[in-house]
Every structure is written in structure tokens, then in C-alpha cells.
């Protein structure tokens, strides 16, 4: 029961912080920050696009980390966290792909281009959808967890190779604006907005993870109740 209350309290605290942060971030993005000179209003989607992309990477690194931890320690909670992060990672990757397309339409004059970063993201999406499907289709809990962990490790190591092979092929994505080369850089207001939005997305990520952990927790408690009930009724 302690875990239940702890999770509920954490969700409440993070939820409140997230709500306040989200309001400030929306104010920043839509009212405070200056409009970009060349791209115009559509550039504002950048403050959702970049954090979503970052969060999907964070999610997938967490998946890989917890998968290795699961294979070493064999604690089913590690597997649960990995699956949860996989689900949330797919969600953020989807958001990043869609917002990117919306931005690309007026700027590049096309929704999609076979650029290294775009294509890598698409492959990333496919790999982690496959990861979730594998987890579902194996059925048996422990075996499914093992398979999914092995697949997650292979998938994570595959991503850099995918990226380099596609970069060899062709590339178009704007070069990174943060810590990029010469000529890159953001207006201070923009940098602040992006940074703030990034923090809000981290909170959103944590909020979703805890919400999903609560579901898993309830499921485990339910399974426990079922078991004791069946045992006592016999």
C-alpha cells in the first residue's frame, strides 16, 4: 500500500508543477517570444517539436537502460518501466514527426523529405512500435520481458548506424541551432522559451510515467487480490 500512496502523492505534486509550467510555457510560446524573421509564425512550433524529439530520445535511452538492468537483475519492475517508457517514447516520436511535417510544409514546401534525421526518427518509431508489439505478442510475461529487452538493446545500438548510413545517402535538416557551428544561435528570448518548454516537457514525461506506473501498480494489486481470493475460496 505504501507504494500506492507514494505514487499518488508524486503524481499530484508533479501534476501541479506541470500545470503551472505548461501555462507559463504557452504564454512564452504564443505571446512573449518574438516572431522569427524569415520563417514567420510557423516557427513557433519549434518549441514543441524540439522538446518532443528530445523526450523521445530520453525515453528510448531509459528503455535501453532499464532493459539492461532487467536482464542483469531480473526484477519485473525494471521491465515495466522499460515498457512504459517505450510507449511514451512512441507517443513523443509521433508528436515530433507530426509537428515536424507541419513545420516543413511551408518552409521546405514538402511534408516529408528523406533527410538523415527525419528518416532516422521514422525508423526509430518503427523499431519501438515493433518493440511494443513483440512485448504484446509473446504472451508469457517473463519471456516477453526478456525478448523485449534484447530487442531494445539491438534497436538502440542500431539507431546510430541507421543515422550514419542515411547521412551518407542524403541530408537536408537544418543544422542544430544549439551548440551548433558558426552562424547558428538563438535570440535570448527564444533560447529561454525553448529551455523552459524543455523543462515542462520533462515534467510531462515524468507525469506520464508515474500515471502509467500507477496503472501497473493497480494491476499487480488486483492480481494479488485475485490470487488470495481464489486460494481462500478453495
Amino acid at each position: 500500500m505504501e507504494r500506492t500512496t507514494l505514487l499518488r502523492k508524486m503524481q499530484l505534486i508533479i501534476g501541479v508543477l506541470l500545470f503551472i509550467g505548461m501555462l507559463i510555457s504557452l504564454y512564452n510560446v504564443f505571446i512573449m517570444v518574438p516572431t522569427e524573421k524569415k520563417m514567420g509564425i510557423v516557427q513557433r512550433i519549434f518549441y514543441f517539436h524540439v522538446p518532443s524529439a528530445m523526450m523521445s530520445f530520453l525515453a528510448f535511452f531509459t528503455v535501453a537502460g532499464f532493459s539492461i538492468a532487467f536482464l542483469v537483475k531480473r526484477n519485473l519492475w525494471y521491465d515495466r518501466v522499460a515498457v512504459i517508457c517505450g510507449e511514451i517514447g512512441v507517443l513523443f516520436t509521433t508528436i515530433a514527426l507530426i509537428t515536424g511535417s507541419i513545420w516543413a510544409r511551408p518552409i521546405w514546401n514538402t511534408y516529408w523529405s528523406w533527410d538523415a534525421r527525419l528518416t532516422t526518427f521514422l525508423i526509430l518509431w518503427f523499431i519501438y512500435v515493433a518493440y511494443l508489439m513483440l512485448r504484446d505478442y509473446v504472451g508469457e510475461d517473463e519471456r516477453g520481458a526478456r525478448f523485449a529487452a534484447v530487442f531494445a538493446i539491438i534497436g538502440t545500438l542500431d539507431i546510430p548506424i541507421v543515422y550514419f548510413s542515411i547521412r551518407w545517402w542524403r541530408t537536408l535538416h537544418p543544422s542544430p541551432v544549439i551548440a551548433g557551428g558558426e552562424g547558428s544561435g538563438l535570440h535570448p528570448d527564444m533560447a529561454y522559451t525553448l529551455f523552459f518548454s524543455m523543462i515542462v516537457f520533462v515534467f510531462l514525461f515524468l507525469f506520464l510515467v508515474i500515471a502509467r506506473l500507477r496503472v501497473e501498480n493497480s494491476r499487480m494489486i488486483l492480481a494479488e487480490i485475485k490470487r488470495t481470493h481464489i486460494l481462500s475460496s478453495n
Binding site: I123, F126, Y137, V138, E140, I154, S165
Partner: protein, 198 residues
């Protein structure tokens, strides 16, 4: 597997007018679609016989390193797939009216390297998908996204060879193939234990 592979090549050659200028551009892609599809057919069956008859337990009980089982299975799948590819290649060259001059060995090298990468990961995944409800469907879903670097490198390298490009142009793709092969043979060898344990 061989007949299937030949059929894919033949069907694709129907979709283009003979002598059309696009044929040459599409040829590498068609070759590798045929190879990956027929390779998938073979990989699907890598473990299905053992699991269905229960002899997998016997193999696992054998007092040898589990990695050896993985390497054996991989080499077996590799030989099958490579033979199919080598037999398909003459048909492909004839049907698409290609002129390889003295680049034949280079093409075989590319096929050799790409096939290693393909079966290295494919054998590992096959050991997993054999336990899923939808075996034949699950393997391509797992394998294709991971295989992207191999397919991309193989198709582009084949394209360069068919254009009779310089060796240096193909070298970059060969590097990607070798890196992929090495990384995933080692990784699959190490993780195979976790897949087959009971």
C-alpha cells in the same frame, strides 16, 4: 526459397518495359527486395522445426556454449541464403540485360557482407518470433527496421557497381556493412543466451 526469389525477380521485370531507361535504376532495389523477402522465408523456419518437435530442449541440454548454437544456426542460414542469391544472380543479369564487365566479384562481395548482417540479426530474432502467436508476421516487423542500414548500403553499392563506378565510391558502403556485421554478430552472440533460456 530459390523459386520464390526467382519469381520475385521475374514479376518485377514484368513491371517495366523491356529496355526502358528506368530498368537500370530500379534493378538494384528489385534484386534486394527479392533477396530480403526470400531470406525472410528461410529465417522464419530457422527454429520452427525444433520448437514444434520439442528437439530444441535437446539442443539446449547439450553441454556446449549457447553461443555456439547461435553461430551454427547463423552459418546454416547464411549458406542457404547465399546459395539462393548466387543462383538468382545469373537470372537477374540476363533478365535485366545488365553488363557487369569485370565487376562481378565486387557484387558478390557486397552480397556476401550484406547477407552476413542479415542472417546475424535474423537468426537471433527468429529465435524470439518462434514463440510469438504470429511467427511469420512478427519477424519482418522486427527485422526490417533494424535492417535499414544493410539494405540501404547494399542497394546503393549494387547501384554503383551496375553503373561501373570506381571502387572508392563503394568503399563507404562496404565500411557500413562491415561495421554492422561485426557489431551485430558480437551483440547477438552475447544476447542469445537470454533469448533461449527456459
Amino acid at each position: 526459397m530459390l523459386i520464390f526469389c526467382l519469381l520475385v525477380v521475374v514479376i518485377f521485370s514484368f513491371t517495366f518495359d523491356p529496355g526502358s531507361e528506368y530498368t537500370k535504376e530500379a534493378a538494384p532495389g528489385i534484386l534486394w527486395v527479392a533477396f530480403t523477402f526470400s531470406g525472410m522465408l528461410g529465417l522464419n523456419r530457422t527454429f520452427s522445426h525444433e520448437v514444434d518437435t520439442g528437439s530444441i530442449h535437446g539442443i539446449l541440454l547439450a553441454p556446449i556454449d549457447r553461443g555456439a548454437i547461435y553461430l551454427g544456426k547463423t552459418i546454416g542460414s547464411f549458406i542457404f541464403m547465399f546459395i539462393v542469391e548466387i543462383f538468382t544472380l545469373p537470372f537477374f543479369i540476363v533478365l535485366f540485360d545488365l553488363n557487369l564487365e569485370n565487376h562481378f566479384l565486387q557484387l558478390v562481395t557486397i552480397i556476401f557482407l550484406a547477407t552476413i548482417g542479415f542472417v546475424a540479426v535474423g537468426t537471433l530474432f527468429s529465435a524470439m518470433t518462434v514463440h510469438t502467436k504470429t511467427r511469420e508476421l512478427m519477424l519482418p516487423i522486427l527485422l526490417f527496421p533494424v535492417m535499414i542500414p544493410v539494405i540501404l548500403a547494399a542497394v546503393n553499392a549494387t547501384g554503383s557497381i551496375l553503373n561501373l563506378d570506381e571502387w572508392s565510391k563503394i568503399l563507404g558502403w562496404i565500411r557500413i556493412l562491415v561495421a554492422f556485421d561485426l557489431a551485430f554478430i558480437v551483440l547477438s552472440y552475447l544476447t542469445f543466451d537470454f533469448v533461449v533460456e527456459e
